[in-house]
Subunit: 215 residues, 2 copies
């Protein structure tokens, strides 16, 4: 059992993912060190926030040159990444599923989208964005064969509920649900829901509040 | 100036948006009342959470029949919605932009996607999902003419930084950024960032933690 700190806040996990991506870009540009306030500036946050996040994961550095970029990339990896690669599959290769496979940047991560699933005969059997599109009928079999742990759900909202049982039966451990259907998975399966209508309503609410506060 | 409660937690705002959608579905099915534990069950949360959210927005109800569905829909609307309609535009009508316009469910909301912007000649000038696709060159003019307050950013990540200044100059008040580029907007502009790679990394991290905790 590892001695990783548990209970790192989810917002910190999200920021660590973003820091790492920035650090990898900097590393690719040949930059070897970065100060906390510069990393903070790139992300539009305070240096205090950056230092707090890194303290939370146990990263300390006392060089006057700033953080060593390569060392910090590896340290964040030791927190975020699993020891063995995690495999992801996307269910539903409409516009949203295809956007996901296009946007997902696996560079340097121990995380890979290995398959997609659909029922559209024009898509099944093809490689879309370098990823094989398989038929939903073969879902449980292929999850087992390809050692898939995580599902991204980007099917039409109307069919989302029908996918819950196959996902549970296949032994999936985590679901990223982009449909607007609230789905009930048993405890023990990680579920994160992100629905465009809710996200837009939230932005609209915050805009409204900021306008009212400025009257 | 309204006497709306401020400082409602963002997670509560998100849940209110989800409750309202469920309540509108129930209303359409002719259901007139619902108990907190039933609404909670639909969303996979506790009745305590539902009651706490509604208490936070000042909704009280002492009927033994459960919440009046229509009254609650209106009450949530009085919290979430602005008095006048808010107009949204999507920048970037690739797969992600088209998924957004397809998935966004404006039923009952005071929020509308009124335009999209792109530079692809095959898209500009067409109606995509019932929404006119305009050229990015006309952005500031059309934001003014169409009274657009909120932008959804679904452009390729590489061009995202070039859009910051036009967005600020056009007087946009809120940005929902789906690209993986951290964007620096001035204080006063609401910005919410959701990047697929970060979301997937978070799910993978939580799966890893739950597996380690079960060893």
């Amino acid at each position: 059992m590892s001695s990783l700190p548990s209970n790192i806040p989810e917002k910190t996990i999200e920021r660590l993912s973003e820091y790492r991506r920035t650090l990898m870009n900097l590393h690719a540009q040949g930059i070897s060190h970065i100060f906390s306030h510069v990393l903070a500036g790139i992300h539009g946050i305070t240096a205090v926030q950056v230092r707090r996040d890194l303290m939370l994961i146990g990263f300390s550095s006392d060089t006057k040159k700033g953080y060593d970029v390569e060392v910090l990339i590896e340290f964040i990896g030791s927190i975020l990444d699993s020891a063995s690669p995690m495999h992801v599959a996307v269910i539903g290769m409409g516009h949203l599923g295809q956007a996901i496979t296009k946007y997902f940047n696996q560079k340097g991560l121990n995380l890979r989208i290995v398959a997609s699933f659909d029922i559209d005969p024009k898509k099944v059997g093809k490689n879309i964005d370098g990823i094989p599109c398989l038929h939903m009928d073969d879902f449980e079999k292929m999850v087992d064969e390809m050692d898939i742990n995580i599902i991204v759900l980007s099917s039409p909202t109307e069919v989302a509920s029908e996918l819950v049982v196959p996902i549970i039966n296949a032994g999936i451990k985590g679901v990223l649900n982009f449909t607007s259907k609230p789905l009930n998975f048993p405890r023990g399966i990680v579920v994160e829901n992100y629905d465009i209508t809710t996200l837009l309503e939230k932005v609209a609410y915050l805009v409204k509040e900021s306008e009212e506060n400025n009257m």
